[in-house]
Symmetry: C2
Subunit: 215 residues, 2 copies
DNA sequence: TAGATTTGTGAACGGCGTCAACATAGCGGG
DNA sequence: CCCGCTATGTTGACGCCGTTCACAAATCTA
């Protein structure tokens, strides 16, 4: 029954790059609808292929979701790096100020992405993956670094600049990450969802202040 | 438990209190499995009733999930209040120290509950509800206060004790909540899931330190 | 060129949420 | 005391989902 009805029928029996097509469809589904909207059958439908074809490229729906999650994390990394670039264009004060600006940029990028792409953000970080895989290249943005690595780098720089005592450096990423991640999730699908837009920026700034001051 | 026949057919045509039975089943399902495990058909099965009977008491699966979420928040409130009691049993230093201990207890209760009941925790706060309903009595614990109210109270006390400058009091709940909530979610179903047990307590303490210091 | 391997298809199964039509229990009013 | 009304539960069906199995076509390789 394939062919006439749905999307344009393929010329060849083989698809060409079905895996990539399914992943792209999955990303699109996650973009509007979050992880639960990543539906195998719909992804295959968009790729113009029968439902079972997906199983030649992903063992599971879960596996597809994992690939979507990785891709979403790469986009988060891109957002962070863009924010870092923006921050570093500012006139260079001393090293300490620059280190603080960089950490803040990391957080800002994270929050900006969550606001701009709530579905993808949710897909990126609510799919269970071990911390050990946080450095996996599949999660890296175009700069080659993952979100977790960008955070770690920023904290290292902060420590190097003497703005973070060495005894407080270990696991500092957990503290910073938690705060920013919590705000992001509360704002996009938690009880803070309806927060008036003019409050959002202020709360975000204050949160980043709190982290910088309390770390 | 009056006549809780799981598979046993009911004696009477009427169930008695089906709404409560469905809610109880839903809570149990959420407890092991999180919100996505709250399945209408399974809840009715456990109540010994046909699937559609649920629609006499909940308009939707979503409505049942909402009720489960409220119940879970009430349990969070209980965990917080217990921690507050524990903290207030300590010899009373000055008012400032007691205010700090109380805020810390609120956070500790939240984190303890998340660790002890990850499924219910997830159900409590990842079901979208507006901030305006955070004071709804359906979310209150046995002490009559919701988690959000307990946090607000603790921050008020901190401000009264002069430990939080008045200009930083507004919206401070968002900052504190975000940090603790973020750590909880990252630890129970995020990338921090596998965190070694001996690290957990330390990270939690440091996070609470950070909040107290940075607020 | 023939056989092996990869990749996509078709049909089917059980589970889900939900709707529509029906049936009974138990109440209040005549 | 009966009668009908409403609240509550049942049966059956629909369309969606993920997943499995057996099969067919395309491509690779020997």
């Amino acid at each position: 029954m394939s062919g006439t009805g749905e999307a344009a029928p393929r010329a060849t029996y083989r698809h060409g790059d079905l895996r990539a097509a399914l992943l792209a469809a999955g990303i699109e589904l996650a973009r509007d609808g979050g992880p639960s909207a990543v539906v195998l059958r719909e992804a295959t439908r968009r790729a113009g292929v029968s439902p079972n074809a997906a199983y030649r490229h992903f063992t599971d729906r879960q596996a597809l979701l994992g690939a979507v999650s990785d891709a979403a994390q790469a986009l988060v990394a891109d957002a962070m790096e863009e924010e870092i670039r923006r921050a570093s264009r500012a006139p260079g004060d001393d090293a300490a100020a620059r280190a603080h600006a960089r950490l803040r940029a990391v957080g800002t990028g994270y929050l900006r992405f969550a606001r701009a792409e709530p579905g993808l953000f949710h897909a990126a970080f609510s799919v269970p993956t071990a911390l050990g895989t946080s450095d996996s290249p599949s999660k890296a943005g175009s700069g080659g670094r993952t979100p977790y690595q960008l955070l770690t780098d920023a904290l290292d720089a902060l420590a190097s600049a003497g703005e973070l005592p060495p005894d407080r450096r270990p696991h500092a990423e957990f503290l910073a990450w938690s705060s920013v991640h919590g705000l992001a999730t509360l704002m996009i699908d938690g009880p803070l969802r309806g927060l008036p837009a003019e409050l959002v920026a202020g709360v975000e700034q204050r949160l980043l202040d709190m982290v910088a001051k309390g770390l």
